[in-house]
């Protein structure tokens, strides 16, 4: 057991736990953040995407002991942001989601892309989201939604 202190969605968390527990289990079971989805448990599908220090990471292959002192943002925290609203609206309006199980992870990856690269071309979007699997949509409308959200973000910020 180990005392681990980190920040989740802006709030400090101190846990006495096995440092080798998967971050996804700590987030879901100890902190009730069930928006973090488990699709594969081996870092292959992206459904458990979270931000660690503002960069996308996969909670199923991170040991909680490795996030000591770091800032973790799950979809529950991310949904407070303006960018989430833009991306989520674009997903809804474009029809970029079906079963929705990949969607929170997809939105985290999309948002991180738009933050880092405000006007991505299609190839950049496909590369940035290549670790997020979706079996329902064929990706077509997800790409459209991310491009749309990035355009809208750019317009708002240049206004």
């Amino acid at each position: 057991m180990m005392t681990i202190a980190f920040v989740v969605n802006g709030r400090p968390v101190v846990l006495e736990t096995d440092p080798l527990r998967r971050l996804i289990d700590v987030l879901r079971e100890d902190l009730g953040l069930t928006g973090v989805k488990e699709g594969c448990g081996e870092g292959e599908c992206g459904a458990c995407s979270v931000l660690i220090d503002e960069r996308p990471a996969l909670a199923c292959i991170v040991a909680v002991g490795a996030v000591e002192g770091r800032h973790v943002v799950t979809i529950e925290g991310y949904q407070e942001r303006d960018l989430f609203r833009k991306v989520a609206s674009a997903f809804g309006e474009t029809g970029a989601l079906q079963c929705g199980f990949c969607t929170p992870g997809m939105i985290i990856a999309a948002g991180a892309l738009i933050d880092a690269c405000p006007d991505p071309d299609e190839e950049t979007v496909r590369e940035a989201l290549s670790g997020n699997l979706c079996r329902c949509t064929g990706y077509n409308r997800i790409v459209q939604a991310v491009m749309r959200a990035s355009r809208e973000t750019k317009e708002t910020s240049s206004r």
Binding site: C40, A47, V125, R126, G138, N140
Partner: protein, 710 residues
């Protein structure tokens, strides 16, 4: 177009999925499975377990040791023998996963391995003792129209081909799971059930209870594609058994490897086609032998085979046809319902065969196929009259306009010595819904529209939302008829205590058959709208009276109607590595008149990519009965980088019996992509591929053979 009502919740990951659900005192359940595909069980040694932990075997089953799928031949927990790798033998239940693992590590099972039946050839040869019955034949069905053998003798040329396709895993992102909660003499089971209606029946058998003591509640489903139909009965029965024994809420979650290696998938196939061509270069006779590789038990192979056989000849008309299909048992998991339902395999076979024949006759493959396409008034292979217009020419024109297929075909070889480009097209059709007389058999499948006192409307049904948007479609239909805003119409996840037993979602029945029930119920409700208080209208489906079926002769209307489609796929092939990259996808479909274009397009996009994955990269192979690509790092499905932007259109052709002219869309776009891919590779390399998926390994063999011969 309205934004789907679940969009925001799904973006937040809080749409009511199983993984948001928890109960006080809930136990985790682990399934102990056979590592052998075929073995006797000599003994089972279970260590002493701590209080609060349980090891459950078949003797703990209070009712019958049966997991009912279509037949009752599959034991819920193995007793003295196992017939596939991954077959459940024991359950371990307890509060902590780590402790459960320790118990698992202490269990010793002594097996006596036997030689397994692995391939279609093993199953038909009979050298190895049969797995199923006396001859491994799980199901067989066939028919003949005209005189095929006589026509072959009279033919100018006869062509023969053999095609093989592999497993395809559904790969819904949410793995299978179930929670069973015992409460006051009843059992409530929660799960992502595609067909909730079958769950109480299935659970009642091992528990030895009446079905009314079992309540199935459907949670928001994280993808299904046919993989959460019959497959959910096993996990749910196991969960219910654990809950019965422990008297605690019990949760079973299959991890990804467990899900890939122990649950159903698309049937591998071997399809042989022989065709006879006359002097005018027309096919006069076709004979198809379809063998699906089944599992160790009956499963749902018979139903899949049924569609394979009835749709085997695709969108074509042949005067003389013989189709014979078998599902053969092997010592593997039971394959089952999978999007495209047995027609993906046959479409690949018939399309590739027709194109090969055309090339050998020196005819353009597309023109050759178009020359054989069914027309209104023609009879299908099962002798059903096509009452509606067949718009394949318009569909092909639309795809050609978008893709430039005819301009590109055969002209893209180019000067690049290491990369070749090619384009291919596939034509296809899918029959849906099945007729009640043909396959569904008759029983009431009602749904209810209830207007509440406040004037809102609730749709009560066990039709399930898998992500495809059926809830939006039903609400849209009711909204149009009742002329009230869609926001005032709701439809929740099914609950078998509350909802009439409609039949769940599968086989592309939802929109055409039950959407029509919604339409009719809404009309009745509208007539009664002025009545005070709550009103309920119950409607059953109605099958058009003109549909006929003779089961014995396999003649008549197997389906209400047909959807039609074509897809063009463009590829570039790296000649050094034989890797195939998809660079363009264009598709057009006749699905009647779509209720909601955006939802329908979403179905097409997703199905096309699922079909391309099947054709291109999804390798799942058995080595001695053990599936080798059980982990997601080894079972590759397309990522966003593997697929280009998709362009598509709908050719409008309203279906008079469908709601607002709609036909089914869920499955048809899956079935042509792999065939078009094969044609594109043939265009690029001049090499014909008879096997799916078209892996670089398999293509390299063909490329080397060609290099050696030139």
């Amino acid at each position: 177009m309205t934004v789907r009502d679940d969009a925001w919740a799904k973006c937040c990951g809080k749409a009511g999925y199983m993984d948001e659900l928890s109960f006080p005192g809930m136990l985790h359940v682990m399934v102990v499975r056979s590592p052998f595909p075929r073995a006797g069980i000599r003994s089972v040694h279970v260590p002493a377990v701590a209080s609060g932990y349980y090891v459950i075997d078949s003797t703990d089953i209070p009712g019958r040791n049966i997991c009912a799928i279509l037949r009752q031949d599959f034991p819920l927990l193995a007793e003295d023998r196992v017939s596939f790798a991954g077959q459940p033998i024991l359950l371990i239940a307890g509060p902590e996963r780590g402790r459960i693992l320790e118990i698992n590590d202490g269990i010793r099972i002594d097996y006596e391995p036997e030689e397994p039946v692995i391939t279609i050839e093993d199953a038909e040869e009979g050298r190895i003792p049969p797995v199923f019955g006396t001859d491994n034949v799980i199901a067989s069905i066939g028919f003949e129209r005209g005189d095929v053998e006589k026509t072959f003798i009279e033919s100018a040329r006869v062509f023969e081909d053999e095609f093989r396709t592999g497993y395809q895993e559904h790969l819904y992102l949410e793995t299978l799971r179930a929670i069973a909660v015992p409460e006051e003499g009843r059992m409530t089971v929660y799960g992502p059930f595609q067909i909730p209606d079958i769950v109480p029946v299935a659970v009642s058998i091992p528990l030895g209870w009446n079905t009314d003591r079992i309540r199935a509640r459907v949670t928001t489903i994280g993808g299904a594609f046919g993989g959460k139909m019959e497959t959910t009965t096993q996990i749910t029965c196991l969960g219910a058994l654990a809950a019965y024994v422990t008297q605690r809420p019990c949760s079973i979650v299959y991890d990804r490897e467990e899900d890939i290696t122990t649950t159903s998938k698309r049937h591998p196939s071997r399809i042989r086609i022989k065709s006879g061509v006359d002097q005018n270069k027309r096919i006069r006779a076709v004979k198809m032998d379809i063998d699906l590789l089944g599992g160790a038990y009956f499963g749902s192979s018979a139903v899949v085979l049924d569609s394979s056989v009835k749709m085997a000849t695709g969108p074509y008309r042949f005067e003389n046809v013989s189709v014979r299909g078998r599902a053969l048992a092997t010592n593997h998991i039971m394959p089952g319902a999978t999007r495209g339902f047995g027609v993906v395999q046959t479409t690949f076979a018939i399309e590739t065969h027709m194109s090969r024949v055309a090339r050998q006759l020196g005819i353009d493959p597309l023109d050759f196929r178009l020359g054989h396409v069914l027309k209104q008034g023609d009879r299908t292979s099962t002798d059903a009259v096509l009452r509606n217009q067949v718009k394949i020419p318009e569909i092909v024109k639309s795809v050609d306009d978008m893709s430039g297929y005819r301009a590109k075909r055969g002209r893209q070889a180019g000067s690049d010595a290491t990369v070749k480009k090619g384009i291919g097209i596939a034509l296809y059709s899918f029959g849906a819904p099945h007729t009640v007389k043909g396959t569904l058999r008759g029983r009431p499948r009602p749904l209810i529209l209830r207007r509440t006192g406040s004037g809102d409307v609730v749709i009560l049904t066990t039709i399930t939302e898998l992500g495809q948007g059926i809830v939006m479609v039903f609400r849209e239909i009711a909204s149009r008829i009742l002329d009230i805003p869609i926001e005032r119409i709701s439809m929740d996840n099914p609950d078998t205590d509350r909802d009439p037993s409609t039949m769940g979602t599968g086989a592309s029945l939802g929109v055409t058959l039950f959407g029509k029930s919604v339409e009719r119920a809404a009309r009745k409700l509208k007539d009664r709208w002025d009545e005070p208080g709550e009103i309920e209208v119950m409607e059953d489906y109605v099958e058009p009276g003109y549909l006929e079926w003779d089961d014995k002769r396999v003649v008549g209307d197997a389906f209400h109607t047909y959807s039609w489609g074509a897809v063009a796929v463009e590829v570039s092939v790296d000649l050094l590595t034989c890797e195939v990259q998809v660079t363009g996808v264009w598709a057009a479909h006749d699905i009647g008149r779509p209720i909601d274009d955006r939802l329908a397009e979403g179905q097409v996009d997703g199905a096309l990519v699922q079909g391309l994955g099947f054709g291109l990269m999804e390798v799942l192979e058995s080595a001695g009965g053990i599936l080798q690509q059980g982990r997601l790092r080894d079972y590759a499905i397309p990522t966003m980088r593997d697929i280009p932007a998709i362009r598509q259109s709908f050719v409008i052709n309203p279906y008079s019996e469908g709601p607002f002219g709609a036909k089914s869309v869920g499955e048809i776009p899956t079935i042509g992509a792999a065939a078009a891919l094969g044609e594109a590779v043939a265009d690029a390399l001049g090499i014909e591929v008879g096997r799916l998926p078209i892996t670089p390994e398999c293509l390299l063999d063909l490329v080397r053979a060609k290099e050696a011969s030139s």
